[in-house]
Symmetry: C2
Subunit: 138 residues, 2 copies
DNA sequence: ATAGGACTTAGAGCGGGCTCTAGCTCAAGC
DNA sequence: GCTTGAGCTAGAGCCCGCTCTAAGTCCTAT
């Protein structure tokens, strides 16, 4: 199947601007086919690649690294070990991101519980004078 | 205890530049105390707050939102529901970030397995001619 | 007393990742 | 045949979050 840039944007969640930008930046493996009028025509494979790029970006891979990966794929068979290394590195970065997120999440969840408790008590305790507000009362 | 800006930077992982920047940006609840020479002197409470800010940033909270939260804390008692709402919103954003990361991670882990397999076979299969390289061979 | 190092300010600069603009071409529908 | 809408290019612009610079002050150690 063949798709126009607008369609691809709609399907992948990237903007048409971003798609053209990615292309200029060399993130695609092969050149995108053009129709008689010079418009980009994307194949299913292209969409697959765009979706991969989107996932890589979402997980924090810099454009430069995506480009490097695209370069490797473009160069063809023989550099699989390099591609694998690159992917594994990114795997690790994602894992450490997830650890950071879960540390942050528990900190915030703790605070949420504190506020919930304070509010539950506060509605009743407002009858008495509020206790000294500590500086760590955030 | 009292700490200089360099010490705080070392402890929190933020740069001294970032600490001054955060202060200018109004991310702190109260003014940072200065010594006779005009230098910043941080308390343990300040460090706690800086660490909170660092966790919020790490989990993707924009400076503007941290500022809003600081504003609420500064305004004191009475706006707990707003603070709670803000925290809960961020909680949800973190959770959806984590979902995105885990989607990306499984995609990448799948690719890693594919490459591992290909390499394991390839070392042996190199004896035969390599099969047609598909366009989705990335 | 002098050198070194940590600190101060205001403001400029930068890198990443888009995002938008201007001016144009093209294809399809009324 | 003319409007509308989608697409094209090259390049400028923007937002965020720092990061760095310049020029100066202050404390400490030798």
């Amino acid at each position: 199947m063949a798709y126009g840039i607008g369609e691809v944007a709609a399907r992948t969640g990237l903007s048409v601007h971003a798609l053209r930008f990615y292309e200029r930046e060399g993130l695609f493996v092969g050149p995108i086919v053009r129709d008689s009028g010079g418009r980009r025509v994307y194949s299913d494979d292209d969409i697959g690649w765009v979706e991969l790029c989107a996932r890589l970006r979402e997980t924090g891979m810099p454009l430069e690294v995506i480009r490097k990966y695209a370069d490797l794929v473009r160069d063809g068979v023989g550099n699989e070990p390099e591609r694998l290394a690159l992917l594994r590195e990114h795997q690790e970065r994602i894992e450490s991101q997830m650890r950071a997120l879960s540390v942050g999440l528990s900190m915030i969840s703790y605070k949420v519980r504190v506020y919930e408790k304070r509010l539950a008590e506060g509605t009743a305790a407002a009858l008495w004078s509020s206790p000294a507000t500590s500086a760590s009362d955030d």
